[in-house]
Symmetry: C2
């Protein structure tokens, strides 16, 4: 079922969504946004729409199918945006039979609304007591009102203050808001709609049907077997979490350090997954934590301080890097505090960490000074003028302070792999429809991890083809509700991929081939490219900041040298 | 003669500029930038170049040929930029035979350099005592060192702080820095090169030759006669200055008021040219002031406070509007103070006024509160975090505070004519290569003033053709060193235009037709469009913010409705 929520009239209209049948997740949000949002729209204006969509496999109990998509025109990048999130909500919405919720128009007043979704449908509830609260306090109030078992998506003060780095925080299975639809500032879009939170209660719901349940279970088993067999998904990630990558990337010379000035961090081991694992174990925290129902990878964690109190959860590689190495900070406790603050204010940790790195380059603090970083981040919570600069992200911070080394593509901060040392991911950053985004085509797998083949990370050869194939496949995966990390397994174990195809077919009674699903992935990219073109971006906008091509990165002392003309061929499919 | 000034090596290399022969002013800066600057360059980085160029008629004594061009990639817009300025320098550089000065690379230290130009050539002089000074103090120190008769171009603290609204201030014939190469943040580019000022002394110079001096004089006379005959250039502008437009535009319903929310300002008469003229007369200020040698229009002024002290000079329509009506301020004394502060810090008055209007919409001050505007502007001088937001311009300020009504095109503030009520200028804003810029194709003439024909300002019909023709002609005029205001006369008096053609031919021994010169104008636009395309902007980027198409503007209650497809046809020539 589709629902349109009009914030001007406060009306909710169910639809069958006939025009969008056969789509899910990113395919669905991107199709709706490209079909219904004026590409010239102000992202915080009445013409923009915020779409929540479940994936093709949401609610089914398929392994690792707990993710959902948020879509809109981004206030950070000005491009189309799909922000993909784990946690508990995707599965519940799937069980409720909700395919998409399309939030439209602008409120006529300054009230604070919560959208409640349950088996009886959708309702807007005014909750003025939530106004001005950060995410943890908001979640506590919502749990007090709606019970502990609901799934919650919520914005903090950063969203309310319309900051372009604002995320939407989502609760995990224990009800802690540790998962984020982080990228692209969709928290600000949600705020512009007058929506503080979405609360989903799937009690009594069971709207998931299967065309062929036995075939579905067989497919699910194939995927589960692959995940349980592949060393990355069965050992590396469960034991150490995504943060296991810190030492790997530093060793590879591709861990951006001190605002992308070096590729190897002398403090890497202090903030890497091995240390994180040891600290969690010693203090009674947790690794091997699942963020969403049906997850059998369990790469999340719960981080406690020295006194044994929970500081934060879901402390990921990207956050340990952005709030750590990129700021020269090697103290995991400081990073955990920064991560908690980001989750609480509701800002994307990648954007904020990179922003702090740019601010340090501008002289606002010393690289490596974790306490100073915490003080800077507090300004975001206060929405002081400095906080508004930082909250607007790395590109604005660079512009405000006249910094030359500003690692962004289409105004979105570049994630945790330096494109001079991991060139395949550089191709993805440059060309993806999302602004710099590692998840859009994770070439790190073949460049660094030896998963899905091997492509020399330091050579420009083969990177465009690698990124192209990954971007297509990822666009499909992002449309299923599956966690991207299943890719580690299915890239090496073909039966896992077969299982995904079989699950989709068995769920809907389709008879599609893998090629058909990859065609869907291509169509997603065409939809998104079409939107971005109409928003004013051409092929020449698909490039990295000039310093990546001119400043060699130690220790390899290489530059990004994939020819621009080759980048322009990425979407030739 | 061409000169390359390399700030990394501190070397100056004269060249004959063979590759750029036949070009001047904007044609020259735009050709050099598009040929030599990587369109992907960071505007404050080593790959950008700052070009100073004289026009085809500079130094000749032609009427109103005192202007020159600055060119670079803009830190405000990310596009190519030509910023055109009056004052005393263009004529002196012309007399010295300087066609272009190309400032390249980045300094290796943090020293403060002045570029001295005289009959003996160019020299870089270190003047640490200028660091951190604003423009009026810098000019005073430079005049103390180099004499009162030099022409000076200089940046203030806004430039030193790399603010994207930073201009380059130029001295007028009395040595007051009242003329600005205002738009596009070229002051920040100059700062990035380590250049605080350029000082030009034309003592003993006489490098201007004529292929046919008699023919040149005959042509000059034709232009002079047209200027002395047309009522706008012989009466309106000399008497009241450009500020005469305030009442005209308010009456026409096209004076953007309180951040573009209304098109008519109840306080218009308090800030218009008639009042300005009366106040100047009463206090012993001056109207009918010429800003550059050879000017026979004399639309500038010197503004004094009630005590008879000079506050500012060159108080233009654009500034009275941006710092006045657009902020709801109707006090000319407050506006004069704001104008002086902008000139002193070195920020573009259009960008800053529009930014203050956006800040007022964000709630940082009340519309109409001139004293509060002065306090806000002081933050720019202090380079406080708030000052850095404001100094980065209207687009960044809108983004930082989550404002929906942000009147910019390609991140440059829209000038003093609302495109909903003056649709021809709206076409120019949307399509020009410069970001929103009224001078690129001043359709106000035919839309409102009845000069150069008549095109109904409220109808979408004919506006694209009008703007196209003006943009072509203007690109040529901007290449001559002539003041754009000669257009008022030559649009109605063809002999004046003949005179310009004859002067160019007689100066260089050419035998070009008007069509040849218009072809040069077209080539300028092609060069600039080519650069912008390679910088990532496509035809779809040529549009106005969505509110102009959706929010009707009182009193006419019209929206901007020139179809996007028609906008895309503008450069079909």
């Amino acid at each position: 079922m589709f629902y349109r929520v009009n914030m001007a009239t406060l009306t909710i209209t169910p639809e069958d969504g006939a025009a969008y049948k056969g789509l899910g997740g990113r395919a669905l949000t991107s199709r709706i946004v490209s079909a219904e949002v004026d590409p010239n729209a102000h992202p915080l204006g009445k013409l923009n729409k915020l779409v929540f969509a479940t994936g093709l496999l949401s609610g089914t109990g398929a392994p690792n199918a707990g993710r959902m998509s948020l879509g809109a025109k981004s206030p950070l990048t000005g491009t189309i945006k799909e922000s993909n999130v784990g946690g508990a909500m995707g599965h519940k919405l799937g069980r409720l039979g909700v395919e998409a919720i399309i939030v439209e128009d602008l409120p006529q007043d300054d009230k604070t609304y919560v959208l409640k979704v349950d088996k009886d449908g959708l309702a807007l509830i005014e909750m003025p007591e939530l106004k001005g609260l950060n995410i943890y306090d908001t979640v506590a109030k919502l749990q007090a009102k709606f019970g502990e078992k609901v799934a919650i998506g919520v914005i903090g003060t950063a969203g309310e203050n319309k900051m372009a780095s604002a995320c939407v925080g989502f609760t995990d299975m224990e009800g802690a808001p540790t998962r984020q639809a982080g990228r692209g500032g969709l928290g600000a879009v949600m705020a512009s709609k007058g929506l503080k939170a979405i609360v989903v209660d799937d009690t009594g719901a069971n709207n998931v049907s299967f065309a062929d349940e036995a075939a579905f279970r067989a497919g699910a088993k194939k995927l589960a077997n692959a995940l349980l067999k592949h060393p990355v998904t069965s050992q590396g990630l469960p034991t150490y979490g995504t943060d296991v990558l810190v030492n790997t990337l530093s060793e590879a010379g591709g861990l951006p350090t001190r605002n992308f000035s070096v590729g190897r961090f002398e403090g890497a081991n202090n903030i890497g997954g091995e240390t994180l694992h040891a600290v969690c174990k010693e203090r009674g925290g947790k690794t091997g934590h699942a963020c969403s129902p049906g997850c059998i990878i369990r790469c999340s964690n719960i981080y406690k301080d020295a006194a044994g109190n929970v500081v934060t959860g879901g402390l990921e590689y990207e956050s340990c890097w952005s709030l750590g190495a990129d700021c020269g900070i090697d103290n995991l406790d400081d990073i955990a505090v920064l991560n908690r603050m980001c989750d609480d204010y509701g800002v994307d940790t990648i954007e904020m960490g990179v922003t702090l790195g740019v601010a340090m380059e501008a002289g606002l603090a010393q690289f490596g000074d974790g306490k100073a970083a915490i003080e800077l981040l507090k300004e975001v919570g206060k929405a002081s003028p400095l906080g508004r600069i930082l909250g607007a992200g790395a590109a604005v911070t660079g512009k405000a302070f006249g910094v030359r080394r500003v690692p962004v593509v289409k105004s979105q901060a570049i994630p945790a792999y330096d494109p001079r040392a991991v060139k395949g991911i550089g191709v993805t950053y440059a060309t993806t429809t999302m602004g710099a985004d590692h998840t859009a085509g994770y070439a790190v797998a073949a460049n660094i991890l030896g998963v899905g083949g091997k492509v020399d990370p330091l050579s420009p050869a083969g990177q465009v083809e690698l990124s192209r194939n990954l971007q297509i496949a990822t666009s499909f995966l992002d449309s299923t509700g599956l966690c991207l990390f299943v890719a580690f397994a299915i890239l090496d174990i073909p039966e896992g991929l077969d299982g995904i195809v079989e699950m989709c077919n068995a769920r809907y009674g389709w008879n599609k081939s893998l090629d058909d699903y990859l065609e869907l992935g291509k169509q997603v990219l065409r939809d998104e490219r079409g939107f971005n073109k109409a928003a004013g971006f051409n092929d020449d906008a698909d490039d990295l900041p000039d310093f990546f091509r001119s400043e060699p990165l130690p220790p390899h002392n290489t530059v990004f040298d994939v020819p621009k003309e080759e980048l322009k061929s990425l979407f030739n499919f």
